[in-house]
């Protein structure tokens, strides 16, 4: 077929791993995946981490990251086998016919060069255009992608523009040499939801206007549904389901796809707060240094025993700082935090062991929240010894009970954190917090680093544990879908202040204030045409400026 832009047939990709102290062995990362992409169309590659989606995406440029080898199959771009012509053939291909947009633009740009030089670099290297026309094209693309002051945008350095702008600049870089195919590798994953929607819309328009074909790699089905014509669902290096976007979203055939589509449909009935709050944050202000502006400004929220308060906001809104103030890591400047009726001492040092025990914390990055040199038994068992003096067989029995509560078997007792998956690590962290039998657990973005299905499992576990142990959660997140799923009351934070606060129902029912409205509209929804609706909605309320 002549109009076939990319054709991958029976692709096999492998790598050699070197486990310490064992013989090196070969592993298969991608096993017999085939796909085709027509000119000007977008194919979404979706799957969890380890599904092989980035590996397949990069293979379209003939590239294997860090020792990864293409061991079988063919990759054809514009009817030409790209693996046939060796390194020089690949060099002609990359940056000219096939371009790449990386997940973290902040890490992918060289901080020492101006944006313009980097955007036109590949175009000049391949001799597609001369410098003047390449720069003119770049300015045109900056304007098309909605970047501010497109004429002079290229004169800036990467640190002078925001993350969302940088991601768009990277898209401009990829489009500059007028390629036939662009590989987008999770281009919006690292961005806030309100920024993500802008970048997504810009990318979609640019793809549409330039008629370039694209592979769009992401773990978020709701995002890919907005831009892709077809979707390929991957799992463990194998294709699970392939079809037009509408079919995948509306009539998924495979169980795994169905699970992805229905993710976060947790059934939770919000409860009304009680008159006596467990945690009462009263007009708290805090700052990191006397000569810096306050990070928290007159924040007041309450949380009843056994309930969940979700604190939601973008990065930099002060939500994690609030957690640090409650735990005492950052002493508050003014205001009062009352816990179980008593005023909490400001500094961690002046709190007694009993107060510390009742207030536990679960972190975002489970792999750095556990000492890599301690076994699961030590990690969960230490609070038992420390707070309750449990030792020997009694301690072992309780650790096994806790492992059972987090749905892990006794075989995990002697494992090290490195031998657990991301979701299992987070479960162990939850067990460590539970071991102290606390009244309140602060959950700081506990599901943000996890794949949707795994995050779903963690949320369900947390809800179940709340019912059995009666523990209250202060749930810090930027993800409104999570908030919707588990909270009893909600506080929306913006620039260190609470802009909206109330019960689940009060906060999520119209009329909204501008910011909450913007946040709610920005959450990707699992339906076609959401992006256009959201953008139109924002234009109407004038929030796009």
């Amino acid at each position: 077929m002549a109009d076939q832009l990319l054709e991958i047939a029976d692709l096999r990709i492998g790598a050699t791993v070197y486990p310490p102290g064992e013989k090196p062995r070969d592993v298969t990362l991608v096993d017999g995946v085939s796909l085709t992409l027509e000119k000007g169309k977008v194919l979404g590659l979706i799957g969890e981490s380890g599904a092989g989606k980035s590996t397949i995406g990069l293979s379209a440029a003939g590239y294997g990251r860090g020792g990864v080898r293409i061991t079988g199959g063919t990759i054809t771009v514009n009817g030409e086998d790209i693996l046939a012509n060796g390194q020089s053939g690949l060099r002609r291909l990359r940056g000219k016919t096939v371009c790449y947009v990386a997940q973290s633009a902040a890490a992918a740009f060289n901080p020492a060069h101006r944006l313009m030089d980097q955007v036109v670099e590949a175009t000049l290297a391949h001799g597609v255009l001369d410098r003047a026309s390449a720069e003119a094209r770049a300015v045109e693309l900056f304007a098309k992608l909605g970047l501010p002051d497109p004429e002079h945008f290229g004169q800036r350095y990467p640190h002078q523009v925001s993350g969302g702008q940088l991601q768009r600049a990277m898209t401009a870089m990829a489009l500059c040499s007028e390629p036939d195919l662009i590989i987008f590798d999770e281009p919006t994953t690292a961005l806030d939801v309100t920024t993500q929607i802008d970048v997504l819309a810009a990318i979609k328009d640019a793809i549409h206007d330039t008629g370039v074909g694209a592979l769009y790699i992401t773990h978020d089905l709701a995002v890919v549904a907005q831009v892709a014509d077809h979707i390929l669902v991957l799992r463990n290096g194998e294709a699970v389901e392939y079809g037009p976007t509408r079919d995948i979203i509306e009539q998924p055939k495979e169980d795994y796809t169905r699970a992805l589509v229905s993710v976060r449909s947790i059934d939770h009935h919000a409860r009304q707060p009680e008159s006596q709050p467990l945690l009462d944050v009263d007009a708290v202000s805090a700052r990191y240094s006397a000569d810096l502006p306050p990070v928290l400004n007159q924040v007041s929220v309450q949380l009843s025993a056994g309930q969940t308060l979700a604190v939601v906001g973008e990065s930099g809104s002060g939500k994690s700082t609030l957690a640090r103030c409650i735990t005492g890591l950052l002493p508050i400047e003014s205001g009062d935090i009352r816990f179980a009726g008593q005023s909490l001492p400001k500094a961690l040092k002046s709190r007694d062991k009993e107060t510390l025990r009742q207030l536990q914390m679960v972190y975002q990055m489970a792999d750095v929240a556990m000492n890599p040199r301690h076994t699961v038994a030590t990690i969960i068992g230490r609070p038992l010894t420390f707070y309750f003096g449990l030792k020997g067989a009694a301690r072992r029995k309780r650790v096994l009970e806790l492992l059972d509560a987090i749905e892990l078997g006794p075989e995990y007792y002697d494992r090290y954190p490195a031998e657990l998956s991301g979701g299992q690590k987070q479960r162990v962290c939850i067990a460590r917090a539970l071991a102290a039998e606390p009244k309140l657990i602060i959950c700081d973005e506990v599901t943000s680093a996890l794949d949707p299905l795994v995050a779903d499992g963690i949320l369900k576990l947390l809800l179940r544990l709340q019912e059995s142990a009666g523990v209250a959660y202060l749930f810090i997140t930027h993800d409104l879908a999570t908030v919707r799923a588990i909270s009893d009351s909600i506080a929306v934070m913006l620039q260190g202040e609470v802009v909206r606060y109330g019960t689940h129902e009060q906060v999520l029912t119209a009329p909204f204030d501008d910011y909450t409205d913007l946040l709610l509209r920005s959450v990707p929804q699992m339906k076609l045409g959401w992006l256009e609706e959201a953008i139109d909605g924002r234009k109407m309320t004038g929030q796009d400026q």
Partner: protein, 279 residues
């Protein structure tokens, strides 16, 4: 981390050579009185005899058996160096981690004091101290250990500052753990791999340092044998073409190389382990 079934499997050839040589040195040092054909200080031949079946490596400037003295010297040199390194490590790493954990003024005070100590060249510092104090084994170990601990302190502090801000240390702090737990159970196990790699290097520096001191006459005192003082005693022989001074010097070099080969291997193994963990 599961320990591999056989830790010596897949050992590189260089490390193997280092391991064998180091073991030989240690065996020689431990069993010196049984292996040595002659006693340490007995004159058994003429001055600077060349090597023969009776005296394998010849004799020294006083007609003592060089091979026997080399064995006893290994004992003195390696014992003092090992003790000094052990002292430097316990002192340096614990103080370094403590400084990182305490932070603020305590850290400033300790770090600047260490800077002050380090600004004086170690050899000169040691010479001054040893010219006032008697050169006994204990004083030697103390002086070398304390001076070397400043280097270990710097590394330990740098490593610990990084670990100290990790979430798992914060979690321990939120739990209410005391400093002893945080230093010995949270930070030390994670700081160990760079420190262990440094250990081999520091041991060699201690051997060289002791040899320098002995060569200058302020280290191990006669009639005790140590490699540095043996070089000193026999240095005039070089003028007459007698290689007696080169033999202890060669032993110092060989020990330095073999311990370093082992240290390199340990370093690579521990970093491999880290890669395996994060990946």
């Amino acid at each position: 981390m599961k320990l591999p079934n056989n830790p010596l499997a897949n050992i590189p050839i260089a490390a193997l050579i280092g391991l064998i040589l180091t073991t030989l040195f240690v065996v020689a040092a431990v069993f010196a009185p049984w292996i040595a054909p002659y006693s340490l200080s007995e004159s058994v031949g003429d001055m600077w005899e060349s090597s023969s079946a009776v005296h394998w490596l010849g004799t020294d400037n006083l007609g003592r058996d060089l091979f026997s003295r080399l064995l006893y010297g290994a004992r003195t040199t390696m014992t003092i160096a090992a003790l000094a390194t052990a002292l430097a490590f316990s002192l340096g790493s614990i103080l370094g981690i403590l400084a990182a954990v305490l932070g603020g003024w305590a850290d400033q005070l300790m770090s600047r004091t260490i800077d002050l100590l380090m600004s004086i060249p170690t050899l000169i510092f040691a010479l001054v101290v040893l010219s006032v104090m008697p050169s006994t084994t204990i004083i030697l170990v103390l002086v070398m250990g304390i001076l070397d601990s400043t280097r270990v302190y710097r590394i330990a502090r740098a490593v610990a500052v990084d670990i100290n801000v990790q979430d798992f240390v914060e979690a321990a702090r939120l739990r209410g753990e005391g400093r002893v737990w945080i230093i010995f159970r949270e930070i030390l196990p994670n700081a160990l791999s760079p420190l262990v790699a440094e250990l081999g290097l520091r041991f060699i520096f201690a051997v060289l340092f002791l040899s320098s001191l002995s060569f200058l006459g302020l280290g191990v005192q006669p009639p005790e044998a140590d490699w540095g003082s043996m070089v000193r005693e026999n240095r005039q022989g070089i003028v007459f073409g007698v290689p007696a001074a080169l033999i202890p010097a060669g032993a110092i070099a060989l020990l330095a190389i073999s311990v370093n080969l082992v240290a390199d291997w340990v370093l690579r193994r521990t970093t491999d382990l880290k890669g395996g963990r994060s990946g």
